[in-house]
């Protein structure tokens, strides 16, 4: 298990760049951060001048040692916290952080099972950490990603995930609009899509699913119907429906 800093740490925003029109990558420097495993998350706490506080969880897109962590945050239009982190937080501003958190939804280089990752929307964030960890240790364990998103413009980390040298193959799936010349039409992932695009039960994969709660529920139900054992599926629900 990863060592965890006790209590709340302070992180300051040291770099940021847009990922999509609604999302940005934020890199925070966190003195005392003990490093983190791929797939872990952090709780971010914001405090208003009158003492009011809001806490939200964010997956960490980076993995490994060091005091810098990268978060990738999608703005929910009516959200309380995400618009602040995407639009308002400025370089040098600080937030409080608790973590790294979670030991269940992680991938560790010593794991030997083939890995299937299935992301819905911003649910790709912990998988970016896993693909980075996979590449950085030169893992030979098969790992592949199925990334379901609304439109091509909504992709997080597209360049990185589509690099020819990537050790993890990404299959893109669009639910709202497809790129020009795309061979499939847009639509929600079906059982047939999952059967075609993911590692089958015979390969005994460990399958990780992450995204909005409704997405995770639908995909895990479909995988169980395809014969995957419930214990071979790990899920991370981000909330929403």
């Amino acid at each position: 298990m990863t060592s965890q800093a006790v209590g709340w740490l302070t992180g300051s925003l040291t770099s940021a760049h847009p990922l999509t029109a609604a999302a940005r990558s934020t890199t925070l420097t966190v003195p005392g951060w003990p490093g983190n495993d791929a797939g872990q998350h952090v709780d971010v706490r914001l405090t208003a001048p009158d003492g009011y506080q809001a806490v939200r969880s964010y997956s960490i897109a980076s993995a490994g040692p060091g005091e810098e962590i990268e978060l990738a945050i999608d703005r929910l239009p009516d959200g309380e916290v995400s618009p602040f982190l995407v639009d308002d937080l400025e370089l040098g501003d600080t937030v409080e952080l608790r973590g790294p958190l979670g030991g269940w939804f992680v991938w560790r280089p010593e794991q030997t099972q083939p890995v299937q990752l299935i992301a819905g929307g911003s649910g790709v964030v912990p998988f970016v950490a896993m693909t980075r960890a996979h590449a950085s240790v030169g893992s030979t364990v098969p790992m592949q990603l199925l990334y379901s998103l609304r439109t091509p413009e909504d992709a997080f980390f597209r360049d990185e995930l589509s690099q020819p040298t990537a050790t993890v193959r990404t299959t893109w799936h669009y639910t709202g609009a497809v790129p020009p010349g795309w061979s499939r039409s847009a639509g929600r992932l079906t059982v047939e899509d999952l059967q075609r695009e993911t590692l089958p039960p015979e390969k005994a994969p460990l399958t990780y699913i992450c995204g909005p709660t409704g997405f995770v529920e639908a995909v895990s139900r479909a995988l169980i119907s395809l014969g995957h054992a419930p214990d071979a599926i790990r899920t991370e629900r981000f909330g929403g429906t």
């Binding site: 990863t2 965890q4 998350h41 969880s57 490994g64 979670g102 939804f105 709660t213 929403g240």
Partner: protein, 91 residues
């Protein structure tokens, strides 16, 4: 807000447990299912965290954080089994 995975419990239970809670195995008092806490279904946010059995919905554990205190109830767990920290996994 719809329900989340047991993983989200990692934050609120940090100071209560000196071990990683989400990988600890526990047995449901109601249906005897054995699972990692990370596999529980978590409801009740933002009032609190209500972790229910993935198999029978029995309440396994409740955590409410307020004013620098945490209240915990684990009545729905028959037992909790915690592995010793594995040093070689440390970063």
């Amino acid at each position: 807000m719809d329900h989340l995975d047991g993983n989200v419990l990692a934050g609120p239970t940090t100071d209560l447990f000196a071990f990683e809670p989400t990988t600890a195995q526990g047995q449901c008092r109601s249906c005897a299912d054995i699972a990692a806490l990370g596999q529980a279904m978590v409801y009740g946010q933002p009032m609190g965290f209500v972790a229910r059995c993935r198999n029978c919905d029995n309440v396994l554990l409740v955590v409410v954080e307020h004013a620098g205190q945490k209240s915990l109830n684990m009545r729905g767990l028959r037992w909790l089994r915690v592995a010793d920290p594995v040093e070689h996994n440390r970063i």
